[in-house]
Symmetry: C2
Subunit: 288 residues, 2 copies
Amino acid sequence: MRLATVRTIGSTEPHGTEPHGTETVRVDGDAVTTIPGARDLGALLADPDWRARAARADGPTRSLASIPDTAWAPVVPHPGKIVCVGLNYRTHILEMGRELPEHPTLFAKYPEALIGAYDSIVLPTDADDCVDWEAELAVIIGMPARRLDEPAARAAIAGYSVINDVTMRDFQYRTPEWFQGKTFEATAPFGPVMVTADEFPWPAVVSCRLDGETVQSARTDDLVFSAATLVAYISQIVTLMPGDVIATGTPGGVGHARKPPRYLRPGQTLETEVSGIGTLRNSILAEA
Amino acid sequence: MRLATVRTIGSTEPHGTEPHGTETVRVDGDAVTTIPGARDLGALLADPDWRARAARADGPTRSLASIPDTAWAPVVPHPGKIVCVGLNYRTHILEMGRELPEHPTLFAKYPEALIGAYDSIVLPTDADDCVDWEAELAVIIGMPARRLDEPAARAAIAGYSVINDVTMRDFQYRTPEWFQGKTFEATAPFGPVMVTADEFPWPAVVSCRLDGETVQSARTDDLVFSAATLVAYISQIVTLMPGDVIATGTPGGVGHARKPPRYLRPGQTLETEVSGIGTLRNSILAEA
């Protein structure tokens, strides 16, 4: 199944906060069907019966084309936790002359950073010189996960989506901790849909394009720590809950590592794709 | 005013998750008065009228002594965000031979890490060899804060509390990012009360005792980045919301920096105090 959160008419909000006015839908080809009683995908996943409930929804349907770009909310608008992973693509680590890490590098992003799949990314005035892209496969949790082994961790994954961990490099590197460059408000597109784990073709290709030019492309079988490994590892630290998100890390090709470095500029279009899921498409704007 | 969140009878839970069964109280000397309609201090602070509402509550009162240690919940049990600060005590930075930082070092902790003021700290089996103390002054936000200057940031502070940012040093240092050592489930005591900003005597003394031996002690006027500076700085990155928490950093004297290093051991009692607020008192236990 392909599931999404869409803003209901009259409630399109640019900042991903949408406290009300969203609904969960199932996308079957061109048909979009409302799943009754779930205000967003996170709320649906909190129901242990979410899978059957999503599958059996047979309410009114509309066409995919009838949903405007502005209606796509972050696929989980308010995850309790977003755990991000650094240094996780083997080829990129080795080409940088580093050793493969023994443990995953983890940091956090707050839900306030999320925007919808087609929302604009507004460069913050105080960090607009060095905003960078990081295309990533996102894992979405489907049941409480605490101290799980890998098979159980795999079963706790509801599905996969696409996220761009857009990063303010200045803030990321001004102190020893990356976090402050990773959680700027309304900067990280997330969606457009979650593909349930049973239908996600593995390995997938994670790619990023800037004005049509491919700047990142890698296969998910190049991940040092797989989705299930990450869920198991994090679950030894803290309980992962339904709707929680793991951003699994970005491959080589970010702008900051280029010579000379490249950053996002107003007027550009950023596209982030994971094969088998979909594509985020975001206009880059200067702050008014 | 001194405000707190207490577990209601029959719902004492050891892991700080308490989805139900708490209430907000005002503490006046030995009298504890329920504030009706606020399931915890975070819910109260979300009401713009929280101050007047807390002040006028005149419901049934009980004595402070009648409240068992196990009833004290984390003073805000479910903050949307906990932002932690590193490297923030001037004397400690200078004695370590470092330069004073230009920007605050920030990282995150998840609410699942919080426990009540007198709950036991259970050393996780997979990290029990190097669990360390970090006594800190906590700032609690009282209104939405976005891109504020320092005077406005100061006005957005609801009050102050006490937190121990208990840290798994092994996990903190096994990758470049500290986060995974900072967010272990049910390890960080927080409370017992929030003292509103108008009644908090500044500077205060932040101290930590292990089995009665003082291991940390510093004054809050030694902070490099003050509470208002931190709120202003973070608000340029992301909107701080009522109930959000900033842990302002720890002074010198942590166990890991000692020669030889010292860590928490089963059977010990950890006390964390901020003058004018109160004292956390936590037994250290081995995991069963």
